[in-house]
C-alpha cells in the first residue's frame, strides 16, 4: 500500500447530535487526533472515562513525519493493547553507527542486554501509527467518539469547565467539557487562541528529508554521517522503514532554498549519490525543514491541558518529539481519571505540569545540543566540532563528545513531588521516579511472560518475596484495594502449605516466578522488599521492608492526597 496523498485512508463520523444549550457536559474532549491525542483517548477509555476526540481533518498524517518509536512508547502502547501490532509492522533496531566521511567512528547499541520484551526502537511511519491507534480506539465504541472534520474554532473557559465552538460538516455547534486536552500539534490553534507565548530557539539550518522506496541492503541500523562523501553538506542520516521505504535526511546549510531543494530533480541526484545508479528508487515524499525547540511555560491552564507538540517541540534528532508526547499522555491520563472519579484532588493535575515540564526541558536540552553540534555557527565552534570528529577516530573520550543524536529515553521523575524519598539510595534497581525496567517472568498460568505486563494500569505494590513468602500479616496492613504482585525466585512455601506460581498469597495477589533471577537482580531484591508502582509504571516509592503505614503514606502522596510538597522531596 502506498501512502501518497490520495491513498491515505479517510474516516468519517456521524453528525454529532448535541442537545441545544449544551446540557450534556463531556468529562474530556481531546482536540487533535494525532498520535498523542489518540493515545490519550485510548488511555482514558481503558480507565472507563468517556472521551470525544475532535480533528479538523479526516485522515492520518501525510508524508514524512515521525518514524522512530522508542521502547518506552512501545511499552505504553502495550499497556493500551496496541504495542504488538506496531512491533509486527515496524522494523526493529538498536544499533547506531556514526561515520566521518567513509570511516566508521563508532557504533552504539541502545539495548545491549536481553531479557526485555521490547527493542530499543522500531521504525514505523506515523501514518501507520495513527491508523492502528484509530483502529484500537474503535474497540471502545461506548467510550471514544472520534469526530473527523470537526474543527475547533473557539474556546471559552467557564466556571464549570470549557466551552468549545466546533465547525462540523453539518454546521457549527458547541460542546461543553469539564476538561480539554489540547493535542492540536506544533502550531496549536488552542495555544494561539489563548494568547500563550511559545518561547524557544529556532535553528537556521535547513534539512531535506526524503522518504524513498527501494530494494537496498542497508542494515537495519541508524546510519549517521558527518561530512559524508556522497553529499556536500555537513551530515546525512539514513533509516530503514517498513515496505522497503528509507528515510534520508540531508543537512543543507542555512542558505538552502526550500522551494528549490524539494524539487524531485534536485532531490533524486542526492539520493542517487547514496544508493548508486543501478538500484531502482522512487521518491515517496520529501520536504525541507528547519527546526526549533520551544515549550509553553506551563502545560496546565485551568481545565485546558496541553499535551504533545502543542506543549513542546524539539528538533527531530533524538526522536524525542512523538515519544515525548506519548509519555505526556501516559503521565496525564491516570491522574485525570482519578480526579474525575473524585479519588484525587484537582491539584494532582499540577504534577503533570511539574513532571512533564521537567521532561520537556530534558528533551529540549538534548535535542538542541545535538543540533548545535551538527551546525557549528562560528569558526571557533567549527574548530571544536572538527576537532571532536578528527580525534574520535583515535581517542575514545572524543567519541563521547561526538553528538549525532541522543536518542529518546524514558525521563526520570526522581525528586519530584509525588515520589517518596528513597530510603535505600544505594540499592540497585529503579529509584523513585524512574520507570520500571522489564524482566522475563513466568506468569500465573506457568507461561513465560514479562514483568511489565503486570505493572502499570493501576497502582501496584511489587513485592520481592526473598527466600520465603512475604508475611501475610504485613501484606494485610496494606491500603485496601491496592493491587499486589509478588515476585518469587522459586515456588513459595507458606507456613503449612506450598504455594505455586499462580496461587494467591492473599486474595487479589498475583504471583510471578522469577525463574531466571533477572527481575530480582534488576530490582535489587536483596535490599528492596517492595516497590510502589504508579499507573504509568514509574516508581512512586520503594521500601527496604513492607510496612503498611509507609505504603499507605506513599500511595496518598503519589495521588496528590497528602500535604507533603515538592519542598520536602527536594
Amino acid at each position: 500500500m502506498s501512502h501518497g496523498l490520495s491513498q491515505n485512508p479517510r474516516f468519517s463520523s456521524a453528525p454529532m447530535h448535541e442537545p441545544t444549550g449544551g446540557s450534556r457536559r463531556r468529562p474530556v474532549v481531546v482536540i487533535g487526533a494525532g498520535p498523542v491525542g489518540l493515545t490519550c483517548a485510548i488511555d482514558l477509555a481503558t480507565r472507563g472515562v468517556p472521551v470525544v476526540v475532535l480533528d479538523d481533518d479526516d485522515t492520518v498524517a501525510t508524508g514524512s513525519r515521525a518514524i522512530c518509536w522508542a521502547k518506552r512508547t512501545l511499552e505504553i502502547w502495550d499497556r493500551l493493547g496496541i504495542g504488538q501490532r506496531m512491533v509486527d509492522k515496524g522494523v526493529t533496531w538498536s544499533v547506531g553507527r556514526v561515520f566521518h566521511g567513509e570511516q566508521e567512528l563508532y557504533r552504539f547499541d541502545l539495548l545491549p542486554e536481553t531479557g526485555h520484551r521490547r527493542p530499543a526502537f522500531i521504525n514505523l511511519q506515523q501514518y501507520y501509527v495513527e491508523e492502528y491507534l484509530i483502529a484500537r480506539a474503535a474497540d471502545f465504541p461506548e467510550l471514544i467518539e472520534l469526530r473527523w472534520k470537526h474543527e475547533v474554532t473557539d474556546l471559552t473557559r467557564t466556571a464549570e469547565g470549557v466551552r468549545l465552538a466546533v465547525a462540523t460538516p453539518d454546521g457549527a455547534t458547541t460542546l461543553d467539557a469539564e476538561w480539554v486536552l489540547a493535542a492540536d500539534g506544533a502550531r496549536s490553534p488552542t495555544r494561539t487562541r489563548m494568547g500563550l507565548p511559545f518561547p524557544g530557539q529556532r535553528f537556521e539550518e535547513r534539512f531535506l528529508i526524503a522518504d524513498v522506496r527501494m530494494k537496498a541492503d542497508f542494515p537495519t541500523e541508524r546510519l549517521f554521517w558527518f561530512e559524508p562523501t556522497f553529499h556536500a553538506g555537513q551530515s546525512a542520516l539514513l533509516h530503514r522503514q517498513p515496505d522497503d521505504v528509507f528515510r534520508i535526511d540531508f543537512q543543507l546549510g542555512p542558505e538552502a532554498d526550500p522551494e528549490l531543494e524539494r524539487q524531485p530533480e534536485r532531490v533524486m541526484p542526492r539520493v542517487r549519490a547514496i544508493v548508486g545508479e543501478d538500484t531502482p528508487v522512487s521518491l515517496e515524499w520529501c520536504s525541507v525543514y528547519s527546526f526549533r525547540c520551544a515549550r509553553l511555560e506551563r502545560f496546565v491552564h485551568g481545565r485546558v491541558v496541553f499535551v504533545g507538540d502543542s506543549a513542546h517541540v524539539v528538533s527531530p534528532f533524538g526522536a524525542r518529539g512523538g515519544n515525548g508526547g506519548i509519555q505526556d499522555a501516559d503521565n496525564l491520563c491516570w491522574k485525570l481519571a482519578l480526579v474525575l472519579r473524585g479519588e484525587a484532588p484537582e491539584s494532582l493535575i499540577a504534577t503533570y505540569d511539574e513532571e512533564r515540564g521537567h521532561a520537556a526541558d530534558e528533551n529540549i536540552l538534548n535535542s538542541s545540543r545535538t543540533t548545535n553540534f551538527m551546525t557549528p555557527k562560528t569558526r571557533a565552534e567549527r574548530h571544536l566540532r572538527d576537532g571532536v570528529l578528527d580525534l574520535a577516530a583515535e581517542a575514545p573520550f572524543a567519541r563521547s563528545l561526538l553528538n549525532a543524536g541522543r536518542l529518546s529515553r524514558p525521563c526520570s521523575l526522581a525528586g519530584l513531588s509525588l515520589q517518596t524519598p528513597d530510603p535505600v539510595p544505594q540499592a540497585a534497581g529503579p529509584r523513585p521516579g524512574d520507570v520500571c525496567v522489564d524482566a522475563p517472568v513466568v506468569d500465573a498460568a506457568g507461561r513465560a511472560g514479562w514483568l511489565l505486563d503486570s505493572l502499570g494500569g493501576s497502582f501496584t505494590l511489587l513485592v520481592f518475596a526473598g527466600a520465603g513468602a512475604p508475611d501475610p500479616s504485613r501484606l494485610s496492613g496494606l491500603p485496601p484495594g491496592l493491587r499486589c504482585v509478588v515476585v518469587a525466585g522459586r515456588p513459595l512455601a507458606l507456613p503449612g502449605a506450598e504455594v505455586l506460581p499462580g496461587a494467591e498469597v492473599l486474595p487479589g495477589t498475583e504471583m510471578l516466578l522469577d525463574a531466571e533471577g533477572v527481575a530480582g537482580l534488576r530490582y535489587g531484591a536483596g535490599s528492596c522488599a517492595a516497590y510502589l508502582i504508579r499507573p504509568d509504571a514509574h516508581v512512586a516509592a520503594r521500601f527496604a521492608e513492607i510496612d503498611g503505614q509507609r505504603v499507605t503514606e506513599a500511595l496518598a502522596r503519589a495521588c496528590g492526597r497528602s500535604v507533603t510538597s515538592a519542598q520536602e522531596a527536594a
Binding site: A380, L384, D386, G387, V388, D390, A395, A398
Partner: protein, 77 residues
C-alpha cells in the same frame, strides 16, 4: 557540597619554562588557521584530562577575565 576548584598556584614544579616552550613549539610551521585548529584540539584533550565541568567553568572564567580590552572578541560574562 564542596566543589573542586581550579589550581591557580604554580603546578609546573620548576618546569614552567619548558612547558611554555613546548606550547610554542606545538604551533611551529602552522598557519593561523591550523594553529586555531590545533588549539581547539588541545582544549578538548585537556578538558578531558580535567574532567570536572565545574573546574572547566572556572578555567574559562579566568581566561575570559584575562582577555585584553582591545581584543575584538572581548566580552565579559
Amino acid at each position: 557540597m564542596m566543589t573542586a576548584s581550579l589550581r591557580q598556584g604554580d603546578g609546573f614544579a620548576g618546569r614552567a619554562d619548558a612547558v611554555y616552550e613546548t606550547l610554542i613549539r606545538a604551533h611551529q610551521t602552522l598557519s593561523d588557521e591550523e594553529s586555531a585548529a590545533l588549539n581547539a584540539r588541545l582544549v578538548l584533550i585537556l578538558a578531558n584530562e580535567v574532567g570536572d565541568p565545574a573546574v572547566l567553568e572556572q578555567a574559562i572564567a579566568l581566561a575570559r577575565r584575562s582577555l585584553r580590552p582591545a581584543d575584538p572578541d572581548h566580552a565579559r560574562p
